[in-house]
C-alpha cells in the first residue's frame, strides 16, 4: 500500500509448464534469487516478490510448474489452490517457444480462467537455434491475447514484456465496471455480487474442473488449427549437441560409469581446491583470535570465565565453521552447473531401472542427489510425486544423502586423521555409504510403501548456465548458510561450552562437568560404537544441526585452527573411533529442519517418528559393526 497510486498492488501470477523458465523470469523481473535448474519440478512452492511497473506496484508470484490445470500432484495442487483462493489481476503464461507444439495447450486452458492474460514465449534463443518459427501477430490474434517472444535467461525482450504486463493491468474498456481489472476464479463465473471474502476454494476448483472438461473435447482440434496457422517446426531435429552428448552419456553400458565418474571428479575437485582454502582461512582466523582478540579481551580485564566463554566458546566455534564457507561456495558452484546442465534428468533415466526394483523411481534418485546440497529442498521436491507410498519411501531415504553440512564435518575429520590422499578416499567411501544406506533402506521397506506410479519425465536439452546464474546461486547458498546456520551454531556452541565448563570450579571438559556426566549417562548405549563420552556431546547437539558438530568439537578440544584441533583430537581418539563417529554422523537424523519438513510434507507423526527411529538404529548398527570389526582385526 506504500505505492504512490491509489490502488493496492496488483497480483500477477506466473503460470506455465515445468522447466519453462518461470523462476528465471521471476528473478530477472524482481531481482530475487528463486532457485533455478534444468529439471522439471524444481519450484514446488509459491514465491512472491514486488515489482514496480511504471507507477503501478505489483506482487509477482512464481508458481510451481503445472502440466495441466487439472493436475493432481501436490505441486500442481499448490497452483490450483492458489488460483482458486486468490484474487489475481493478471496471469503471465510462460511457454517454451521451441515446444509450442505441446505447450500451447496450457495457454488455451488458461484462457478458460477468463482472467487478463499475457503470453510470453520464452527461450527465444533455443527456438531460433532449433529452427522453430512463430508468426507472433497471427498467434496473438488467434488467442486474442498479447503474445511476446522473450529470452529470460539472456534478458531479451524483457522491457517489452514489462510494458505489455503494465498495459494489460490497466483497467481498459474491456474490463467490467467497478471491480477494475481484479477478478478471481470464483468471481468470473458466479453471477451476482462478489463476496468480499476469499471464495470457497473447493467450489471454485470444482467448477474450473467442469469448464475444463467442457473445452477438452474440441481443445485438440483448436490447438492443431492454431499451430498449423502460426508455428513452423523444422523438418528435422536440429539439436545436434544434445543428440551427440546423449549418445555417449545415455549409453547403455557406459552411461552409468560415466555418471559416477563425473560425480567423483566433481567431488575430487572440490576437495582438492576447497580443503587447502579452508585450512588457510582457519589458521588465519585462529591467529587473528590469538594475536588480536585475546589480548584485547585480556586488556579489558574481564573475568576468566567470560573471557574463556567469548574466546574458546563463541569465537572458536563460529570461526571453525566459517572457515568452511569457501568449501560451501565451491560445492554449490558445482551443484549449480550440474543442476542447470540437464544431466539430472539423464541421471533419472539411467538409474530408473535400478530404482524401480527398489520401489522408487528415477526422480527419487535425482532428489537424493539434490539432497547432497541440503536435505530440506530435496524432501520438498517429492511433491512432484503423486503416489503417497512412493513419496514416503523417497522421504525415508533422502536423509541419508550426505549434505553439505555433514561434508564439512567429514572434511575436517578426514584431514585430522588421514593423509590427504587417504582422506579423499574416506570421503568417497562415505558417499558410497550414503548410497548404500539409501538402497538398503528402500530394499527393506519397499514392501510397506509399495506404490506404482507411471513415470514420464521430460529430458530437456543440455544447457550451459551463465556465470552470473551459478555465481548468484552459490553466493545465495553461502549467505543462507551464514545467516541461517549461524543462529544454530551460536546456540549450540554456547550450550556445548557451558556444558563443558559447568558447574563452576571443576576442570573444564572433565568427567565432573555437565557434558562429562551426559557422556557417561549415554556411555552404556554408545560404548559398542567406540564413540567416547566427549564425542557424545557433539552428537547430541548434532541432532539440531550438523554445523554444531564441528563448532562443538572446536569448543570441546579448545582449538579453532582446524589443523591444531585435528592434532588435539587425534591425541585422544583413535582413527577407527573417528570413522565410527563419522558413520554415525552420516546416518542419524540430519537436523531438526529435515525432521520438521518431513513432518509437514508427510502430514504424519508416526512416519516422522519412524524415520528418526530407523536412522538411529541404522547409525548405531553400522558404527558398532565397523568398530567391533576394527577391534577384531586389530586396527587399534
Amino acid at each position: 500500500m506504500s505505492s504512490s497510486t491509489a490502488c493496492r498492488p496488483a497480483t500477477i501470477a506466473v503460470l506455465g509448464m515445468p522447466n519453462t523458465g518461470k523462476s528465471t523470469l521471476f528473478n530477472k523481473l524482481t531481482g530475487s534469487h528463486a532457485h533455478i535448474g534444468n529439471w522439471p519440478g524444481l519450484t514446488v512452492d509459491l514465491m512472491q516478490a514486488s515489482l514496480e511497473l511504471a507507477g503501478r506496484s505489483a506482487q509477482l508470484i512464481d508458481l510451481p510448474g503445472i502440466y495441466d490445470l487439472r493436475g493432481h500432484s501436490d505441486d500442481e495442487a499448490v497452483v490450483r489452490r492458489f488460483l482458486a483462493a486468490t484474487a489475481i489481476d493478471l496471469v503471465v503464461v510462460i511457454l517454451n517457444a521451441s515446444q509450442l507444439d505441446r505447450q500451447l495447450r496450457l495457454a488455451l486452458q488458461v484462457q478458460e480462467l477468463g482472467l487478463p492474460t499475457v503470453v510470453l514465449l520464452n527461450m527465444a534463443d533455443e527456438a531460433k537455434r532449433f529452427g522453430v518459427t512463430i508468426d507472433l501477430p497471427a498467434l496473438s490474434e488467434q488467442l486474442g491475447l498479447p503474445v511476446l517472444l522473450v529470452s529470460a535467461k539472456y534478458g531479451r525482450g524483457l522491457g517489452e514484456a514489462r510494458q505489455a504486463i503494465r498495459k494489460a493491468l490497466d483497467p481498459g474498456p474491456l474490463q467490467p465496471e467497478g471491480g477494475g481489472a481484479q477478478a478471481s476464479l470464483a468471481a468470473t463465473q458466479a453471477p451476482g455480487p462478489v463476496a468480499s471474502g476469499a471464495p470457497s476454494s473447493t467450489d471454485a476448483a470444482q467448477s474450473l474442473e467442469q469448464r475444463l472438461a467442457l473445452v477438452d473435447g474440441d481443445l485438440p482440434q483448436r490447438m492443431a488449427a492454431i499451430l498449423a496457422a502460426t508455428v513452423q517446426l523444422p523438418p528435422q531435429w536440429r539439436d545436434r549437441l544434445t543428440r551427440r552428448l546423449d549418445r555417449v552419456l545415455l549409453h547403455p553400458v557406459l552411461g552409468l560409469p560415466l555418471f559416477f565418474a563425473t560425480m567423483l571428479l566433481m567431488f575430487q575437485g572440490i576437495y582438492a581446491i576447497g580443503v587447502p582454502l579452508q585450512g588457510l582461512l582457519s589458521s588465519w582466523l585462529s591467529q587473528f583470535g590469538q594475536g588480536v582478540l585475546a589480548p584485547l579481551l585480556a586488556g579489558w580485564g574481564l573475568p576468566a570465565f567470560v573471557q574463556g566463554f567469548l574466546m574458546e566458546g563463541l569465537y572458536q566455534g563460529i570461526g571453525t565453521v566459517s572457515a568452511f564457507l569457501p568449501v560451501i561456495f565451491l560445492f554449490f558452484l558445482a551443484m549449480g552447473v550440474v543442476e542447470d546442465s540437464g544431466y539430472l534428468s539423464r541421471a533419472a533415466y539411467l538409474m530408473d531401472a535400478l530404482m524401480e526394483r527398489l520401489g522408487l523411481d528415477g526422480r527419487s534418485f535425482v532428489l537424493c542427489l539434490m539432497g547432497f546440497g541440503c536435505n530440506v529442498p530435496a524432501i520438498l521436491g517429492t511433491r512432484v510425486m503423486r503416489s503417497t507410498g512412493l513419496r514416503l519411501l523417497t522421504m525415508l531415504v533422502i536423509p541419508f544423502s550426505l549434505c553439505s553440512a555433514r561434508l564439512n564435518v567429514f572434511l575436517f575429520m578426514a584431514a585430522a586423521f588421514f593423509s590427504p590422499s587417504q582422506g579423499a578416499l574416506v570421503i568417497f567411501a562415505l558417499y558410497l555409504m550414503s548410497f548404500a544406506a539409501a538402497i538398503f533402506t528402500a530394499l527393506l521397506f519397499q514392501g510397506r510403501f509399495a506404490a506404482q506410479e507411471a513415470l514420464v519425465l521430460e529430458l530437456p536439452p543440455y544447457r550451459l548456465p551463465t556465470p552470473t546464474q551459478i555465481l548468484t546461486r552459490a553466493w545465495a547458498e553461502v549467505r543462507h548458510f551464514w545467516f541461517w546456520a549461524r543462529r544454530f551454531i551460536i546456540i549450540g556452541v554456547v550450550a556445548v561450552w557451558l556444558l563443558n565448563n559447568l558447574p563452576l570450579g571443576v576442570p573444564p571438559a572433565s568427567a565432573q562437568t555437565l557434558s562429562g556426566q551426559l557422556g557417561h549417562l549415554l556411555h552404556p548405549l554408545l560404548a559398542p560404537t567406540g564413540i567416547d563420552p566427549t564425542l557424545t556431546v557433539a552428537l547430541v547437539f548434532g541432532f539440531i544441526a550438523k554445523e554444531i558438530v564441528l563448532g562443538g568439537l572446536a569448543v570441546i578440544y579448545g582449538q579453532a585452527d582446524t589443523s591444531l584441533l585435528g592434532q588435539a583430537m587425534a591425541a585422544q581418539v583413535s582413527w577407527p573411533q573417528a570413522v565410527s563417529f563419522m558413520l554415525f554422523t552420516l546416518l542419524y537424523v540430519p537436523c531438526l529442519s529435515t525432521v520438521a519438513v518431513i513432518r509437514s510434507e508427510s502430514k504424519r507423526l508416526d512416519f516422522t517418528l519412524f524415520t528418526i527411529g530407523w536412522s538411529l538404529v541404522l547409525a548405531w548398527t553400522v558404527s558398532t559393526v565397523f568398530f567391533q570389526f576394527s577391534r577384531l582385526v586389530g586396527w587399534h
Binding site: 502440466y67 507444439d101 534428468s345 539411467l350 530408473d352 509399495a450 514420464v456
Partner: protein, 108 residues
C-alpha cells in the same frame, strides 16, 4: 488402474485387456509402444491409461495421431527415450505398454 498391486512384469497383458479409453473408439492395438525398436518411429493410435496419466501424457505431447520416435532403450529393461514433436522424454516400458501404435517406420 484396475489392479494397482499387479507386478510390473504383467503390465503388458494388463494394458491390452483394459477397456478402450473413453472419448474414442479404440480398437485393441496390434503393436505397443513398448515394442518399438530404437530408430523406429510410429503413430500413436490408442492410450489405455487412467485420466490423470492421460492428461500428463497429453501435456507432454503424447496423444492419438501423434508421431513418436524411439531414440534408445535403457539398460536392464529400463525406460524408453522418446522424441515426440519438439520434446524428448523418458517413459517406463510398463507405461509404454499401454500405448498402442501403428504405421511403424524406420527413421534411421
Amino acid at each position: 488402474m484396475a489392479t494397482p498391486t499387479a507386478p510390473s512384469r504383467q503390465a503388458r497383458t494388463l494394458g491390452q485387456s483394459q477397456p478402450p479409453a473413453p472419448g474414442g473408439p479404440d480398437q485393441t492395438p496390434d503393436i505397443l509402444l513398448s515394442e518399438l525398436a530404437a530408430g523406429q518411429s510410429a503413430t500413436i493410435c490408442s492410450l489405455a491409461v487412467e485420466p490423470g496419466l492421460r492428461h500428463r501424457l497429453q501435456a507432454l505431447g503424447l496423444h492419438r495421431g501423434q508421431r513418436v520416435q524411439l531414440l534408445r532403450r535403457g539398460w536392464w529393461a529400463g525406460p524408453l527415450h522418446l522424441r515426440v514433436g519438439m520434446t524428448e522424454l523418458m517413459l517406463r516400458r510398463v507405461d509404454a505398454a499401454r500405448v498402442g501404435i501403428d504405421n511403424v517406420m524406420v527413421t534411421a
